[in-house]
């Protein structure tokens, strides 16, 4: 028998700390440059701001050292870098839009939300010792997800902003519950599909060579699907609906490996979108603004014209290859430059180079999540990590694709970058979940039977460990 030297998995906390220094330098440096370039002096609160960000990052790093020592070392720095760069751009737009009488304070609020988000992520890491605990709450998550989706429709609670009824007002704060719903739904899909994947995939009639699942297996999924369609119809939120649909199709495919269903799903969605485009004027306007963005009457149409999109394209074009530099462009000429269109603001000031770099950071974040999914041993973890990683990547695609005219503009926020408390909290929770799952994915199988509070309950066989490593290598290629 051949003996294999045990592969030493390094926890990677040292790497993480190094990368965190780089990420903090990016964010705080950007913040300082904005102040220098716009006002000529460093921002007054640069020391407090830099210290605050560093403390947040280090606290989370320490929590990881204690609670998830084997967590992926790249995920946290990527999130910190994106959050920091987003803050710098929001501060930059604040400076452009502030007047003496009416100072714009988006950056301060975003900074507060960042603090809450990081602390929430720490709480998740501390409280949730093992991600599989979440599987117990599969149906709770379904109910919670549906409730969150439908919350804005409750009279007196939901408010309509810019035509979309996706906001909830609670105690002076406005929240977008759909951001949290996507996590709940990912938990539900993961829990439900891991149990029912075999019956879904195998039991049921075959029609025209295509295997169909039994209705009773598909039932809960259809309920959720109907819920996300209701978002489209009653809340007029194309983006969130598209996001839920993407999550739904991706996780169904992950669980069943049935490519045919994806095609059916895509067909259904395209069909639904076409029907919606003919039925609802707001959807039709989005398509018109996408296909004929530069027609004069489409630009000037209000509401629902392409003025915002075209302004963003002008902004990005003026940035060119290398951008105008922090604080040197005019991102404030684009409506919602700090939220829905922050990617155009960054494209203008950091140029194509900066925009591609940001996209690469997102790609690294998403692929690290995918690698976690491949590495983790249990099906629930695979589905959950794969699902939330995909939803982050897909959200980037929907947002950036909308701004660059790959797809119609829908109105989602860029994870971590864009202004918005709900989005920031939800994405920090996603990061916490990914870190938690990656910890169990990368944790070496215990060699000695002993008590290890953080270890997975089952002991992994050597074969599985090898598969994990192979998976890692392939994911890298």
């Amino acid at each position: 028998m051949v003996t294999v030297a045990p592969h030493q998995v390094r926890p990677g906390r040292g790497v993480e700390l190094g990368l965190l220094v780089v990420a903090l330098a990016l964010g705080v440096g950007a913040y300082a440059l904005v102040g220098l370039n716009v006002t000529g002096v460093l921002p007054a609160n640069i020391a407090r701001y830099g210290a605050g960000m560093a403390v947040l990052a280090v606290v989370m790093h320490l929590v990881l050292r204690v609670r998830a020592p084997y967590a992926d070392p790249v995920i946290l720095p990527a999130a910190v870098a994106l959050n920091g760069i987003g803050l710098a751009m929001i501060y930059r737009i604040d400076l452009a839009e502030s007047t003496a009488a009416d100072p714009s304070t988006f950056a301060n609020r975003q900074l507060a939300w960042t603090g809450i988000g990081v602390l929430l992520a720490c709480v998740v890491l501390v409280v949730l010792r093992d991600h599989r605990t979440l599987r117990r709450y599969t149906y709770t998550a379904m109910v919670a997800g549906l409730a969150l989706i439908l919350l804005p429709l409750v009279p007196g609670l939901g408010t309509t902003i810019n035509g979309a009824r996706i906001w909830v007002h609670l105690g002076g704060m406005s929240l977008q519950p759909a951001e949290f719903a996507k996590i709940a739904l990912a938990v539900f899909f993961a829990g439900y599909l891991v149990t029912h994947r075999d019956t879904l995939a195998l039991a049921g009639p075959t029609v025209l060579g295509l295997h169909l699942p039994r209705l009773r297996d598909l039932g809960p999924i259809l309920v959720v699907w109907a819920g996300s369609l209701a978002v489209l119809v009653f809340e007029r939120d194309l983006g969130t609906s598209l996001l839920f649909f993407g999550l739904f199709v991706a996780m169904l495919y992950l669980a069943t490996e049935r490519t045919g269903w994806i095609l059916i799903g895509l067909g259904l969605f395209l069909g639904g979108a076409l029907v919606a485009a003919r039925t609802f004027s707001h959807v039709a306007a989005r398509f018109e603004g996408w296909l004929h963005a530069f027609d004069d009457d489409v630009i000037n149409q209000s509401p629902g014209g392409s003025f915002q999109l075209v302004s963003a394209l002008y902004g990005m074009a003026s940035g060119g290859l290398f951008g105008t530099g922090w604080g040197q462009g005019r991102p404030d000429l684009v409506p919602y430059a700090e939220s829905d269109f922050i990617i155009a603001s960054l494209g203008e000031e950091l140029g194509l180079t900066g925009l591609l770099a940001l996209l690469l950071v997102y790609l690294v974040l998403a692929e690290r999540g995918m690698r976690t999914a491949i590495g983790v041993r249990d099906g629930f973890g695979k589905l959950l990590a794969g699902g939330v990683s995909f939803v982050v990547a897909f959200q980037c695609f929907v947002v950036v694709g909308g701004v660059t005219r790959v797809i119609p503009l829908t109105g989602l926020t860029m994870p971590f970058l864009a202004y918005g408390g709900s989005s920031l909290l939800a994405n920090w929770v996603i990061v916490a979940l990914l870190l938690r799952i990656s910890d169990s994915a990368r944790r070496p199988a215990p060699e000695v039977q002993g008590y290890d509070p953080g270890a997975p309950a089952s002991t992994a066989a050597d074969g599985q460990a090898t598969e994990v490593l192979t998976g890692l290598r392939e994911a890298r290629g």
Partner: protein, 483 residues
């Protein structure tokens, strides 16, 4: 589940590649087109946020940019605005550019190809890029004298250096203050612009080169005389000069100014006919020479040709295919003949310069911000409308006009002035336009000038070119000779 996970991971990569491709498309491939889109307000801001070079007259900037704290970054200001308004034009965030602000825009912004090295220097030294200064040929004293002599009469004055073509004065009246249109407050600018466009005096129109061109009246007789001399006639050649000329194939007639007789109703010499501006003699001469000969001579003086100095000049014109009565009328500068004051100044300048017409130009030098000369206009011969002999004969005939003829108001003691008057009827119920074109000194010309005073100016129906326009020309000539 690892196989579908890997596939999804690939899908994610593909999605991001699509985004990167789209971003490259927007920010690199399409960027130039998007930046040039006239609806792109950034282009406007970027252009106006530019340390634009000054326009300089006589060593002093008449248009210059100063940094201000607003989205546009710089404020354009015009010193002595109304005096140079039609040369500089205006630079407005709402109404764009006119005049040299438009014609020399790429030099003033510093984006012209000839400024490439200067831009590289700015890049290397980190100096704030600034546009070039554009120095004009206008002479402040001559320009001021022309504007003052014209006063509040509607009209225009153009003065050229006949030996180089340099434009010494270009005045159009009434004028406007370009400062009011250069403001950054859109609604104020809109209101002031509307006031200017509603003004019946049309102050925004540069009458000197681009107005509704005028019938040149008797100043066109210089072209007739040139054609006659070029065809072999001499100043002494006798011309039939009836008191009233019946026009062929029509019941209309042409009489002389005020019903006067020239030469007692018989014949007059060509020189005499020009001196007293005899309509019947020149109408008959025009009929004898034919419209083709007149048109050809007019075109050799520049009629019908596009011209840019670098302001765009409206081409003057001679009718395409006139019948006999129309030809007779065209010969005395009526009917469908139209000329700009610059064109008539160019006629005089060509005669003054021995038959060689120099290309008129308004921009003398272009200097980079470090005062290095980037471009310099060198005088060039545009055309040779007449032979030196013809030019000399015409000069002597024009001297006669000023010495003892219709243009005596332009006489200057001790200086030989050569000129020609014109009184152009427009419609019966409106006072005629008064013209005068001249050059001086006749033996060594330093200035050629053309003046038009619309609808008789301050004199009204009593106006003649000799009475209203000649004194303006004299003031301009004196200003040049006093330099």
């Amino acid at each position: 589940m690892n196989t579908p996970l890997r596939r999804i991971a690939v899908v994610v990569v593909v999605m991001f590649l699509a985004l990167m491709g789209a971003a490259t498309w927007v920010q690199y491939v399409q960027a130039a087109q998007l930046n040039a889109d006239p609806r792109n307000v950034r282009t406007l801001y970027r252009e106006y946020d530019n340390f634009r070079g000054p326009i300089v007259v006589g060593g002093e900037p008449v248009a210059s940019s100063t940094p201000v704290d607003d989205p546009f970054g710089f404020q354009r200001a015009y010193t002595n605005g109304p005096l140079y308004a039609h040369a500089t034009g205006y630079y407005s965030i709402v109404y764009g550019r006119t005049g040299l602000e438009r014609a020399s825009n790429d030099l003033l912004t510093g984006t012209a190809d000839s400024l490439f090295l200067s831009r590289i220097q700015d890049l290397v030294t980190g100096r704030q890029p600034q546009g070039s200064s554009v120095e004009l040929t206008l002479d402040p004293a001559v320009q001021a004298a022309a504007a003052e002599a014209l006063g509040d009469q509607r009209g225009a004055v153009v003065a050229l250096d006949p030996t180089t073509g340099a434009v010494l004065a270009m005045v159009s009246s009434p004028s406007f203050d370009p400062n009011v249109l250069a403001g950054h407050d859109t609604s104020t600018v809109n209101d002031l612009y509307r006031t200017l466009t509603d003004d019946p005096g049309e102050p925004l129109v540069n009458r000197a080169i681009a107005g509704d061109t005028y019938p040149p009246g008797s100043t066109f007789k210089l072209v007739d005389a040139a054609a006659a001399l070029e065809s072999g006639l001499t100043p002494e050649s006798p011309l039939a000069a009836p008191d009233v000329l019946p026009l062929p194939a029509s019941s209309a007639t042409i009489g002389n100014f005020g019903g006067a007789s020239c030469g007692g109703g018989g014949t007059v010499s060509l020189a005499e006919a020009l001196r007293i501006s005899c309509n019947t003699a020149f109408a008959q001469l025009g009929l004898d020479l034919g419209d083709d000969a007149l048109r050809e001579q007019a075109e050799r003086f520049g009629f019908g040709a596009p011209l840019s100095i670098p302001l765009r000049v409206t081409p003057s014109r001679f009718p395409e295919d006139p019948d006999q009565p129309q030809t007779a009328l065209a010969a005395i500068g009526q009917q469908d003949v139209r000329a700009t004051p610059l064109q008539m100044a160019m006629v005089s300048a060509a005669i003054a310069n021995g038959g060689e017409q120099m290309a008129p130009f308004l921009v003398r030098t272009v200097r980079s911000p470090d005062l290095e000369v980037v471009e310099e206009t060198s005088p060039s011969v545009l055309r040779t409308p007449v032979s030196p002999a013809t030019a000399a004969a015409l000069r002597d005939m024009m001297v006669g006009v000023v010495e003892t003829g219709t243009g005596t108001a332009a006489r200057i003691p001790g200086v030989l002035v050569a000129g020609k008057t014109g009184t152009a009827q427009t419609t019966d119920d409106v006072a005629p336009h008064a013209w005068f074109t001249a050059f001086a000194p006749a033996d060594a010309p330093r200035v050629a000038v053309a003046v038009i005073v619309e609808n008789g100016g301050n004199v009204g129906n009593e106006a003649t070119g000799g009475r209203v326009a000649a004194p303006v020309a004299r003031a301009v000539i004196e200003a040049v000779l006093a330099r």
